[in-house]
């Protein structure tokens, strides 16, 4: 990577110590280069994009307010740590996930949700249902418990009498399988690919 300041692998506090006048420029660069990754990261914990954007903004503001110069050398690591903590705070404050608005579903087609696209979105939901129906009951149960009953991986493991590693594998396989089926991959091929995820 060209800029050592933004390299997460470089956590040496003495890597570079820009003065605070540089900080807003650095944060701008950080924003430009990492915003997509940061939003993707936040969306693994938060279910709606607006909330992810809010948390990201809050994290950038916090970063601008940091006063230890050492922090600058691993700004990106800080950014993700701050953002992660803010996201977790938010989840705890709600005590539950917020349901995303129905329109968020159409983000995939972004510019202008037409009637055809709405129909397409509904068809995708049906296809997802069918794909999940093709999986073994254990996979479906692990997925539903984690996704809709708000149970952590550890809690699902206890409930299903499996190792947490197995639960993770089941859920990852379920998501992977559904993605492939939605992409038009055949049942057998998708099944084979899914089994490539090893516990």
């Amino acid at each position: 990577m060209a800029d050592p300041v933004l390299d997460t692998t470089d956590d040496r506090p003495d890597a570079k110590r820009p003065c605070s006048a540089d900080r807003s420029a650095l944060v701008s660069t950080l924003f430009r280069d990492n915003n997509r990754a940061l939003l993707n990261f936040l969306l693994t914990h938060l279910s709606n994009e607006q909330e992810a954007r809010e948390v990201a903004q809050e994290a950038y503001v916090k970063l601008l307010q940091l006063d230890q110069p050492e922090a600058i050398s691993f700004l990106r690591t800080y950014l993700f740590r701050i953002a992660g903590n803010l996201a977790i705070d938010r989840i705890r404050r709600h005590g539950r996930k917020e349901r995303i608005d129905r329109l968020a579903l159409f983000e995939e087609w972004a510019t202008e949700p037409s009637v055809e696209q709405e129909v397409l979105a509904e068809q995708e939901i049906e296809l997802i249902k069918e794909a999940i129906g093709e999986l073994k009951p254990n996979y479906r149960r692990a997925f539903v418990l984690h996704k809709f009953d708000e149970r952590s991986i550890a809690e699902v493991a206890v409930e299903m009498d499996l190792t947490p590693r197995m639960v993770r594998t089941y859920i990852a396989r379920t998501v992977f399988y559904c993605r492939l089926r939605l992409d038009g991959v055949g049942h057998a091929e998708a099944h084979k690919a899914m089994m490539g995820i090893q516990a």
Partner: protein, 346 residues
């Protein structure tokens, strides 16, 4: 399987594992670092991750009892919907109910358009305006409220079957009193924005119109011309979303936004995160006594992050050279011109 397809499969499989790992270890810095490294190893990885994540969020809708009823912003998943219960049964089959539902969606859209074409133009009207640089709140005869930004002009015409408003360039926030029998239609530039009972913001500047919805749903449609295609279907925009139309390119975009930040102007604050300077100046100049111009289009592309208070725009303009590589000069007719810091002083 071709090499490209197998790489895509690999990336999607790994992305699925990463999604679950990041969810399972929310506090692990090590996991985040390795994940970032993985994203950067191959551009296919980042793309795959986004596709897996989009699917994960799409799956939220499996919990909807009925997709045709717009869900509220926050609903607990306490009770399993019929769909989730079905997922737990030994097998799920395609039902007739689904085909019926698809038909219902199409019917709804057509009837909304039919209502649209019944609209007529009326002539009696009452103007409302903020000639000065202050925000202004007006209540309308039907109980709706309009919050006007500085230098914004709205013409109200409630004489007919619809509640019609026409907006000059500027910005206005509408809190619409619900009345299903009389649509509330705001014309801004080349667009008509229609609401029943809802809260939304319209901003119209130099061929760019943005519509931000705080509550409810609005429909946006280009103003109908005699030669318009009768099958045009309006864009429907839900809460938390901003629709932007650019006249020059005819392009449209729908993005989710922080509505409280978009609407902060009503409290005298303009909030920006990486906004192009042209947009910021268009807003700020609604609150200055003299025109503000950008001398060079390349400066307009500079981005600004921060807050401008509408009652101290002069101080903000003075401070701008500290934040961006620009200089602020006096221009013609008492106005202000923003030039590149690199350019010669005249």
């Amino acid at each position: 399987m071709s090499g490209q397809a197998s790489n895509e499969f690999r990336a999607l499989g790994e992305a699925s594992e990463w999604l679950i790992r990041l969810r399972a270890e929310p506090d692990s810095e090590e996991a985040v670092k390795s994940w970032i490294r993985w994203c950067e190893e191959d551009p296919a990885n980042a793309t795959a991750f986004e596709r897996i994540q989009r699917l994960w969020r799409q799956m939220d809708h499996l919990a909807d009892e009925n997709l045709d009823h717009a869900s509220h912003a926050s609903v607990q998943h306490a009770v399993h919907s019929a769909t989730i219960a079905a997922l737990l049964r030994p097998s799920t089959r395609r039902s007739r109910w689904r085909d019926w539902r698809l038909a219902a969606t199409i019917f709804f859209a057509i009837s909304a358009s039919a209502g649209w074409y019944a609209l007529k133009v009326h002539t009696r009207s009452v103007p409302l305006s903020t000639a000065n640089t202050q925000n202004h709140v007006a209540s309308l005869p039907d109980g709706s409220l309009v919050n006007l930004a500085g230098k914004t002009f709205v013409v109200v015409n409630f004489a007919g079957r619809e509640r019609r408003l026409r907006m000059s360039s500027g910005e206005a926030f509408f809190k619409v009193h619900p009345d299903k029998t009389r649509p509330f239609v705001v014309r801004a530039g080349p667009l008509d924005v229609t609401a029943v009972g809802t809260e939304f913001d319209v901003k119209s500047d130099a061929g760019r119109v943005s519509v931000t919805v705080a509550e409810g749903v609005v429909a946006v449609q280009p103003v109908r011309r005699a030669d318009a295609n009768a099958s045009d279907v309006p864009w429907r925009i839900g809460p938390g979303y901003q629709f932007v139309y650019s006249d020059g390119s005819g392009s449209t975009a729908l993005t989710s936004v922080n509505t409280s930040s978009v609407l902060a102007w009503r409290e005298g604050r303009l909030d920006y995160v990486n906004a192009p300077l042209t947009q910021v100046i268009a807003d700020v100049s609604r609150y200055t006594h003299h025109p503000v111009e950008i001398a060079d289009p390349s400066i307009g592309k500079l981005t600004f992050t921060g807050t401008v208070f509408t009652d101290s725009t002069d101080a903000w303009l003075k401070a701008l050279p500290g934040v961006l590589p620009v200089r602020v000069q006096s221009g013609a007719a008492g106005g202000v011109v923003i030039v590149s810091a690199a350019s010669m002083r005249h």
